[in-house]
Amino acid sequence: MKRLGVGGWIILALAAVYFIGPLVLTVIFSLWEGRGHYGISAYVTLLQRPNIVRSLVVSVELALATCAALVVLLVPAMVFMNLYAPRLRPLFEFIAALPFVVPAIALVAGLSALFSGPEWLIGTPFYLVIPYFFLALPYAYRAIDVGIRAIDLTTLTEAGQSLGADMGQIIRLIVLPNLRTALVGSTLLTLAVVMGEFTFANVLLFHTFAVLINEVGQNAPTEAAALSTLSFLITWLAMAGVLLAGRRGGVQLSGAR
């Protein structure tokens, strides 16, 4: 392998400064207690806020519910499309790309006009699963599509059928386990989208994690920095966990020679 020259090292250092600099400064700022004092008081106040845990829990629950909805609805739909109606693929691609084209605020307006549903639905934050489903759709669709293309879905399905399995057993025992890596990826992306989503939650007046970050940022800057640091750590831990799980699956799934 070619060794990195002086120029290479300089570029690498500049990139490191560019990426790590703001992070370090955020951490330092979050530790600032005014007049040259440094300590963890911002973190203490932050964690003492009454709604922080609740909003975090709400966001995580929303993310998981969205993931579940995507797996339950999207995977069978895509499996059936690939097996029995491959001609519908362009339609699927189009629908999956729509959320990119339509601005979030237009979605909110449309959504609140459309869903004047029962109180038990629109009164809880789980109402947000509906818009989040569509927000995460493009990412989840891509990830699952890549996974499905990587296996010979038709042959595996037919093998399952000839062995007497019904479609439910085939999806549960054959398709889902072989889409593990793809599902990990789609879960990761969905988590990221839902955890960071602000517009819907704010306009529809739900107190999610992203809304809280925004609120804190407006009146307590050091706490906001502390919150950013924390959410950065949480996100990284989550990603590392998901990636590790995916890698372990990946060994078994590297496919037939």
């Binding site: 093998a159 059928q161 000839s162 062995l163 399995a165 054959i174 037939a256 020679r257």
Partner: protein, 352 residues
Amino acid sequence: MATVEAAGVSKSYNGRTVLAKLDLAMTDGELICLLGPSGCGKTTLLRIIAGFVTPDAGRVLVAGTDVTALPASARRMGMVFQSYSLFPNMTARDNVRFGPRVGKVPLAEQHKRADRLLEMVGLASHAGKYPHQLSGGQQQRVALARALAVQPQVLLLDEPLSALDAKVRAQLRDEIRRIQRETGVTTVLVTHDQEEALSISDRVAVMNEGRLLQVATPSQIYREPADGFVARFIGAAAVLPGVTEDGKVRVGQIVLHAEAARQHAAGKQVDLFLRPEHVRLEQLNGHMPPDGVAADVGDTTFFGSLTRMRLTLADGQIIWADLPSEQAEQFKPGSRVLARWDAESPRVIPRG
């Protein structure tokens, strides 16, 4: 185990006929090869029997029962696919016991069956491996064991050996035959390789363009091909178009003797089939016997004990001769020789 029958099966895609009112009846425990060139409809017929494709017309009967309306999952047919089809997320053992497992067979019995079948295909020591840890040949063995684990009435194999290299292919071919005999399961094997078909089958069904041309034992197919297509497809026979005379066939300027020409009226348009193993060569020494013909030696192909020689007749027609290799050395490429054969050897089939 059961008899299998396809009766009047037709299928077309986008107005193109792929199978044309095809009839095929198999006896219990028989191994039939569907043999034909690529695209002739072999896979389509197999998939109709398996229940993956619905025929436009006709019926599929297993042990006399009409199964045409049954889905594949209810037909109890084991299937081995051309491409590797093992479930990548399961070990060899779990692949094999998948059928019994979804069939609600007790767990202990599932494992017993899987272990016995892996033993049968010689992979007992690989039971815990995942498909990607197995070679292509091993994967197809596991696929065979998996198909047999549902104790199928019928075993269907769609070119199971075509992705393997020659040595493994020959080995696994013999093994499929042995296992088929041991289990006695009625088997349809699709192939486009005539050597494979002839060596493994009880009967060979030769197909072309959606039709069955001949269904017969390998030796019948080889010795008495029903028509020009079968003769050309099975082995390397020279096919020479000509006109019958008394006990001969006139091909262009030359006359080739063939007893079988007497079966047809004189002056009939026929094809004469001459197999390379029937042709003998002698040195030309001035005189030309009435049953001989002059030929120029062309390229030779060395097959070990045999050498195949390409011969050009006076009008440019090509025939081949298979000679023992040490004998073939006497006939140098470019030399003119005398080619002879027994009058009973060539087949003469009307051209239609």
